[in-house]
Symmetry: C2
Subunit: 185 residues, 2 copies
DNA sequence: ACCTGAACACCGTTCAAGT
DNA sequence: ACCTGAACACCGTTCAAGT
């Protein structure tokens, strides 16, 4: 049976989850699918396009935000949920960062985030800029925790990151942003 | 005359400035220096160590912050200065992000930033977390602007980023953070 | 001490030719 | 329509051997 674009993307996600971006090469992916490397280029224009698709899959898995809570709470909840989903996937910050640069509004989760920023008190002119700030905070926090885990793995002298306190550090920054929104001039 | 570690790092910085990270390979760097690729490994353990040195050079060039202004102003001024310096250098966000993950307190500019966050009203417990937030905001903003410039270069349909409005978007996010600091609970 | 030559195990991408 | 085979132009890193 012929290969499909969906199959290529799904296997790429699987490879990323299991071994990280370093092992997500076009050649490795082709081997995993039992085809020649060139075959992939029938289904996907190039590696960058593939990675954008991979990011979309990761972001699509984030549960939609409940509609009954006040906006600042819902915003914080969604940001935490996105961070939690991404921190499980090796190099997720790099992959999503690339996708976000290419097409910022592609994923529903990120559009919801922008909307909640607005409802939490950002003026119309601030809205997009603050949404970007929150996304950067999420991706930065994910990358930082994963980098510390990697460093601890290589050098056993270093302490392994405690995911609870990493999450807490993230929420401190998030709280500052939300407070800043409320205290608009 | 023998090669020196400083010479290797300086040429790496030059290559990054002129052609970006894609052309900063160990082999390309060796060619530029007129030596065999293996020669570099006498002066530098591996590519990652080299990139950390490159980041340190970039950050060392940022002018120290004047001491006479109030902390929130000085903080904003320094953040803008760091962003401005890095946005000139292709892929600077990736390089500095890597270095920051490996050794967060290495560069004077970043230590100053953490100190000013404290003086601008962060409690002792918030201090480091908010400094991290500001660094992520800077690196995210730099990466975003450079990515848009790249996208516009590839696809001439897209608008080239206007550096003034990019800077303004950055300052909006920064202002939210500073306000959030002042409005501590 | 410092460097070369040569190798090892890889990359992303293209494209004529096959089915 | 979909894929193979083979190539092109690269990577980072190691290490015996040379000076």
């Amino acid at each position: 049976m012929a290969l499909s674009r969906e199959q290529v993307v799904a296997t790429a996600v699987d490879l990323l989850r299991r071994y990280g971006l370093g092992d997500l090469s076009m050649r490795r992916l082709a081997r995993e699918l039992g085809v020649a490397p060139g075959a992939l280029y029938w289904h996907v224009a190039n590696k960058q396009e593939l990675l954008v698709e991979v990011a979309d899959v990761l972001l699509a898995e984030i549960p939609p935000v409940p509609t009954d809570r006040p906006a600042p709470e819902a915003l914080a909840g969604l940001a935490v949920a996105i961070r939690e989903a991404l921190v499980q996937v090796p190099d997720a910050a790099d992959v999503v960062g690339l996708a976000y640069a290419v097409e910022p509004g592609a994923a529903r989760a990120l559009r919801d985030l922008a909307r909640l920023v607005h409802e939490a008190g950002a003026t119309a002119s601030e809205r997009d800029d603050v949404a970007v700030l929150v996304v950067h905070h999420i991706l930065g926090s994910v990358a930082a925790q994963q980098n510390r885990a990697l460093a601890a793995h290589i050098d056993p002298e270093l302490p392994a990151p405690d995911s609870t306190s990493e999450a807490k550090a993230f929420e401190v920054g998030l709280a500052v942003i939300v407070r800043g929104l409320g205290a608009a001039t």
